[in-house]
């Protein structure tokens, strides 16, 4: 009997289908990795298994017993433990109290009101195992990010689960910490079935017995790590079809003025450091692409540049002027424009309103007429609510919004995410057209092929650091596979 069985699970959020007929069977003691690009549905799948979300269709079975439909606390009681992507320990309680509570809860004793909470032997043992014993009396909120992740694992382990869901356990960890955490996970009890979601593909493939690949909410491949590595479909999802050398552009940008410069940026969420000493620059009239698998920090970098996320170290300069901690609207006024990941259309506004709102108060060559010239489809849809448009059309609105601000530089965050191949080509056309008009673009993309076909220069981000920089022609197959492939 499989330890975990997901049977034809589908999940729809309104009109959006996040998961489509997902089937999964994990044998007892197996190590299964679930990989896939951003938006593929991995975290939705986890949430459904854990009971945080209910499937629209389909069922989940834990040790043969149906759990879909049960609240997550019941599912947890039945032998499932999970770690979260964002460390969620109880910050005001001490480390040992956190683990002790998890232990008590696992044994159904969390309502004990007669005896004070004391650290039992089991708690001590687990803390020792994750190397947190010296920090046992520290308040969990004071731990470093790495230590918080260790605590997260400790709280899961002490529950002695039958099935363990690990949601990106290595996220935000530095080299040595990744090593430690990686070892810890590898040494987990073989009696425990482990389901792992990780963006560190090397680790995931080394760790797993079997791998499942999710794309657009469907399992597109399943098998041993070797088989997955060879699988051409999977290759294409990550790296794109092997093709003729990307065209790029040949003229040198050496003499162009710098528009945007990032110097030694470190940023993250709370104590979690995502970006480490990132430096890059974008010159006038260039299209610069930022590549990297998801989870590597592309969106974090874009958010930091726009001021949506505070900088922890380093500086961002627009045309030489340091932006400090200016809020997004101030940066927008100075000439930064963002085409955000996910498009972010406003509820209840028509296309026309969105565009007029963006254009309000900004003068320049990009007028409504000119924008509608470039995007004729939008002209037909002016009175339609922006949220009712297709993904591709929404992307056009998002780009148009940015252009109407007549910016000094356009930041595009994963514009092709979730779009059909046809729309992807259209977006590429738009970017080329922008370049022809002399606009400056910083493009964060997961679609390597598309990015290489439009960029003048390329940066590659891995684990929050710039690991490669150069021209598209220089980005050989070997380099691409090393950083972006499997």
């Amino acid at each position: 009997m499989p330890a975990l069985k997901v049977e034809r699970v589908s999940k729809a959020f309104g009109g959006l289908l996040a998961l489509a007929e997902v089937d999964l069977e994990v044998a007892p003691g197996e190590r299964r990795a679930v990989i896939g690009p951003n938006g593929a549905g991995k975290s939705t799948l986890f949430k459904i298994i854990a009971g945080e979300l209910q499937p629209t269709r389909g069922r989940v079975y834990l040790q043969g017993r149906p759990v879909s439909g049960l609240p997550q606390e019941r599912v947890a009681r039945m032998g499932l433990a999970r770690t979260f992507q964002k460390s969620t320990a109880f910050g005001e309680l001490t480390v040992w109290e956190n683990v002790a509570l998890a232990w008590k809860a696992a044994r159904g004793q969390e309502r004990d009101f007669l005896n004070p909470l004391v650290p039992e032997e089991e708690v001590r043992a687990v803390l020792e195992r994750v190397a947190l014993l010296p920090r046992a009396e520290e308040k969990a909120g004071n731990l470093s990010h790495g230590e918080k992740r260790q605590l997260e694992i400790a709280m899961a382990l002490v529950q002695k689960p039958q099935v363990l869901l690990l949601d990106e356990p290595l996220a935000g960890l530095s080299g040595a910490e990744r090593e430690r955490m990686g070892c810890l996970i590898r040494e987990l009890d073989r009696n425990t079935t482990v389901l792992l979601v990780e963006h560190d593909l090397d680790y995931a493939l080394a760790f797993a017995d079997r791998v499942a690949v999710l794309h657009y909410g469907q399992i597109v491949a399943e098998g041993t790590p070797e088989a997955i590595r060879e699988n051409p479909v999977v290759q294409e999802i990550y790296v794109g079809k092997p093709e003729e050398a990307p065209r790029g552009n040949l003229d040198s940008s050496a003499s162009r003025p710098k528009v945007l410069e990032a110097v030694g940026i470190s940023a993250g969420y709370g104590s979690m450091r995502v970006l480490h000493q990132v430096s890059l620059e974008v010159n006038q009239g260039e299209v610069v692409a930022l590549l990297g698998r998801n989870g590597m920090g592309k969106t974090t970098l874009m958010s930091t540049l726009m001021g949506l996320l505070p900088l922890q170290k380093g500086e961002v300069r627009l045309e030489g002027r340091p932006l400090g901690l200016l809020p997004p609207y101030a940066r927008a006024e100075l000439g930064l424009a963002l085409v955000p990941q996910g498009r972010q259309m406003f509820e209840g506004l028509t296309v026309e309103k969105e565009l007029r709102m963006a254009a309000w108060g900004r003068k320049g060559t990009w007028t409504m007429e000119r924008v509608l010239d470039v995007f004729p489809r939008l002209g037909e849809r002016l009175k339609t609510p922006s949220r009712a448009l297709s993904g591709g059309e929404q992307q056009m609105v998002a780009i148009a919004r940015a252009l109407l601000r007549n910016p000094r530089i356009v930041l595009m965050d994963e514009p092709t995410e979730g779009l059909s191949p046809l729309m992807v080509r259209q977006v590429a056309e738009v970017v080329r057209a922008l370049k022809a008009e002399g606009e400056t673009v910083l493009l964060a993309e997961q679609n390597v092929k598309m990015a290489l076909s439009v960029a003048d220069r390329v940066y590659i981000l891995e684990h929050g650091e710039i690991v490669w920089e150069g021209r598209p022609q220089e980005a050989t197959g070997a380099i691409l596979h090393r950083y972006l492939g499997l």
């Binding site: 609207y329 108060g361 900004r362």
Partner: protein
Amino acid sequence: MALLLLIQLLNSLAFGMLLFLLALGLSLIFGVARVVNLAHGAFYLLGAYLGLALTQALGSFWVSLLLVPLLVGLLGVSVERLLLRGLHGRELEQVLLTIGLGFVLADLLRAWFGASIRSVPPPAELSGPLILGPLIYPKYPLFVLATGLLLFLLVRLILARTPFGIQVRAVTTDPAMASSLGIRPTRVSLATFGLGSALAGLGGVVGAPLIALAPGLDAQMTLFALIVVVIGGLGRIEGAFFGALLVGFVDGFGRLFFPQVAMFLIFALMALVLALRPEGLLGRRGT
């Protein structure tokens, strides 16, 4: 009997429109500034007393109808700027601050205007009855009704057509993205607070001839406004409109047919909506 029902209907509608004026302000303030302003009823009372004083001083109801909302709106803007700005993001504390403010305001009004019940006569042009066949109905409540309707349409227009209105809607839905497009959320927030408070003040001037002024009225009106907004949906003006009508009806007909339980029913309705459909009857799910 039918006549009685008709009269009660008109009464309920008029009261409902008054509630709408209040609830609209509260709803806007919550939608944009994310503050549950429990001093709203005190702003109403302030508007009412100010209206009374100004009308007596200046001799014109219409002038004070124009001036009072402006003054109360200014107060709202100052409150947001000076007191609430520092508590950004801390919902509970903001609510408590507004409660405190409401108490202060109410007591200051009581000190200045006295604790006795004041009934305010409607302006000469609007006093007296309207006679339509067998129906004899006072003119003033009809004026209140008309004002409410007018404002509903006006505010809807502002929100739908003007740049300010669009910015308000953008900031309500997605403040981060709005900021990325150059909209200053704080500025919009300030303006909305001013507008919302002005509406409460307007409600006070308009409502004074309808509901006698007395200490404690502020708490009552705050509660009513809160109920309407909860039932109709926080942040949506259609919700405030229909919610106000609903509450007006329940209150009006409740008083007539079930006087003992009318109050209880209204709170029970509020509780039910909050527990089962917290986004309100007309609200949309999600933040």
